[in-house]
């Protein structure tokens, strides 16, 4: 592990911190993430039931970035081995930093390298079979000035099926890396909720490698947060693999949300799908940078990419940069990016049926986001997410 950390440190030093002039940081403000000392962020006192509370799950609690065994569930569960990064098994030590390093080319991701070099906490999960309940990572924040790095290493063995949930305020400044290696016929589901903290600064990185006939599905809900940069880097290396990434984000005011996705297809007959939706108001900003790279020989690739934003006023902004780079000649790739206002026709139709203006707008906002939420396979989890989105809108009605 120490060797992996050292080589990550060298990688990071060669790249340096991200700058506004870097092509993939043009629309975002790296300085909020890169200042030496994280600015404190006010703690948000919640009066609501925690997310995923009704879902039968195996809970691992991290308080200000440190695993809290007492607050967590018993980690023994059939078909799965869970440990902390500090106690990582050989396989995990060997995997640590590998997918992150693979993901550094052709686009540098310095904060991920920094994470591999410095992170001390994180969870190591190895799934052998169909795991009966989701592993739920809960990030509690108690300190106003918490500056947290987490590095998770996950291996889904052949034919195994694992769901990982992530939620909680985590830190004033958060940097996470999740490396997920999915063996043939393995399935990995990921649902993440980045909650209501207004001052959160977060850079998250998901690196995954997909084997033959494997499935990867990730969904992220983001509301609020001063700056959120979610990077997803997927290597689709096995034939007939399926990779879906989706996000639903809502921001009000001082909010910058950036989804940066890079999917590389290097195998036959694979499918990838990106569905990103953002609702922006009062000057909030959304960024989407999504790329599908189809290597020579990755025939019959079916790539789909959709990024859409709904601007609820004239002050909000959305920057979309869809990219396709295709070297195979028998593929199907489509992409679309739209920016629009609320549909006035639909508003009038709803109002003419007696739905008041505010409720009508909320109904249309939720409908807009639902194409992303719909990507969550588990209905109970999806409904929990829908409830949060509704709650966020309801709090803004008065």
């Amino acid at each position: 592990m120490e060797a992996a950390r050292k080589s990550a440190q060298a990688r990071f030093e060669a790249m340096g911190l991200p700058q506004r002039r870097d092509e993939y940081w043009k629309y975002t403000r790296p300085d909020l993430l890169t200042v030496p000392d994280a600015q404190p962020a006010a703690l948000l006192i919640r009066d609501e039931a925690p997310l995923f509370d009704t879902i039968d799950r195996l809970k691992l609690v991290f308080v200000d970035g440190v695993f809290d065994a007492a607050a967590s569930d018993d980690l023994s569960l059939e078909g799965i081995e869970i440990s902390q990064l500090a106690d990582a098994d050989t396989w995990a030590q060997e995997l640590y930093g590998v997918l992150e390093e693979n993901g550094q080319s052709p686009v540098a991701r310095p904060l991920a390298a920094l994470n591999s070099a410095q992170a001390k906490e994180g969870v190591v999960i190895r799934a052998f079979g169909k795991v009966s309940k989701p592993v739920s990572l809960v990030y509690v924040r108690k300190s106003e000035a918490s500056d947290v790095m987490l590095h998770h290493v996950i291996r889904v063995e052949e034919g195994a099926d694992l769901t990982v949930l992530e939620n909680g305020p985590a830190a004033a400044r958060l940097n996470t890396v999740m490396e997920v290696d999915i063996a043939d016929k393995g399935a990995f589901h990921h649902v993440r909720a980045m909650g209501r903290d207004h001052e959160r600064r977060a850079a998250t990185h998901m690196f995954a490698r997909l084997g033959h006939e494997s499935v990867f599905k990730s969904f992220t809900m983001t509301v609020n947060g001063k700056l959120t940069r979610n990077e997803v880097v997927l290597e689709v290396n096995g034939d007939n693999a399926v990779a879906h990434v989706a996000g639903a984000a809502m921001g009000d005011g001082d909010f910058l949300h950036d989804d940066t996705v890079f999917i590389t297809h290097d195998s036959l007959n694979c499918e990838s799908r990106q569905v990103f939706k953002k609702v922006l108001r009062n000057g909030a900003t959304g960024v989407f940078q999504g790329k599908i790279l189809v290597k020579a020989g990755a025939q019959k690739t079916d790539g789909y990419q959709m990024s859409q934003s709904l601007l609820l006023d004239d002050d909000s902004q959305f920057y979309g940069k869809p990219e396709l780079e295709i070297y195979a000649d028998d593929v199907m790739c489509s992409h679309g990016s739209t920016t629009g206002a609320i549909d006035e026709e639909a508003m009038f139709y709803l109002q003419s049926r007696g739905v008041n203006k505010v409720e009508a707008q909320d109904l249309l906002v939720l409908a807009f986001l639902d194409a992303a939420v719909d990507e969550i396979e588990d209905e109970a989890i999806a409904d929990d997410i829908r409830g949060r989105l509704e709650g966020w809108l309801a709090r803004r009605r008065d």
């Binding site: 026709e345 139709y349 709803l350 109002q351 007696g354 739905v355 109904l363 249309l364 807009f368």
Partner: protein, 251 residues
């Protein structure tokens, strides 16, 4: 029920006068029909009454049951009992038809200070009403009007009318795009709703619909005002001779 006096309306963005002094009075339980050539202002009248943006009332009044309609938001007009069956019902992806209807019914009840319907009560009522309009469970689950055929959209409008139980129903070319059987089904749906306390304003190009929904009064509208009113025989006259004679007569 509905009382329109000297209504003048222009487009908000253009200097174009559409309605040039419309007078119309519809009593409780009456069915009135408006016919008229294209561009006479029929649809504009329906939109202005229901509160669509983009129009400016320059003169005149419109009231429903004594309430000034023109000052109200569209949803307030709906809660008072006004309903417009759209010529082109709007598709709303992502909003289930059932959710939409329940939200609408309960919003109106809330505005009127009535108790909201529970999910169970609502389901019972909608199932019975959907059945008579040959709307199946699948159609109720689908997003509002998305992927509906022309006939399905119009039947869905009538279902909304049946669920909302309005007092004043405006049907804007509900027969357009319908085959004979679909038109009969829609007409039956409308006729089932006829009652002493409910009035209808049927806007149509064709006398055919009026064979099924029998009007008490027929108005001919041209160039932004009502130019002639009469009984059902007026519709037959239009069907046989077109508008030319009537237009010449009043000119």
């Amino acid at each position: 029920m509905l009382d329109i006096k000297n209504l003048h309306v222009k487009l908000e963005d253009e200097d174009k006068q559409i309605l040039k002094g419309v007078d119309l009075k519809i009593g409780a339980g009456e069915v009135h029909a408006i016919m008229g050539p294209n561009g006479s202002g029929k649809s504009t009248l329906s939109y202005v009454l229901s509160g669509r943006a983009g129009y400016e009332v320059t003169d005149g009044t419109a009231s429903l049951l004594g309430h000034d309609l023109l000052e109200l938001e569209p949803e307030e007009r709906a809660a008072l009992g006004l309903f417009l069956a759209f010529q082109y019902p709007v598709e709303i992806p992502g909003v289930g038809n059932m959710t939409f209807l329940r939200t609408a019914v309960n919003s109106q009840r809330k505005m009127r200070g009535e108790d909201e319907l529970s999910a169970g009560e609502f389901l019972k009522i909608i199932r019975a009403k959907a059945k008579t309009l040959k709307i199946d469970a699948e159609m109720l689950k689908r997003p509002v009007n998305v992927g509906f055929s022309g006939g399905e959209k119009k039947r869905n409008e009538i279902l909304q009318m049946a669920m909302l139980e309005p007092k004043m129903c405006i049907l804007d070319e509900t027969d357009s795009g319908l085959d004979v059987d679909a038109m009969k089904l829609v007409a039956e749906g409308v006729n089932a709703l006829r009652s002493e306390g409910r009035s209808f304003l049927v806007i149509t190009h064709y006398q055919r619909l009026l064979d099924h929904i029998k009007p008490d009064v027929v108005h001919i509208m041209a160039n932004g005002r009502m130019i002639k009113s009469g009984g059902p025989e007026l519709a037959l006259e239009v069907e046989n001779n077109g508008y030319a004679d009537i237009l010449a007569e009043v000119a």
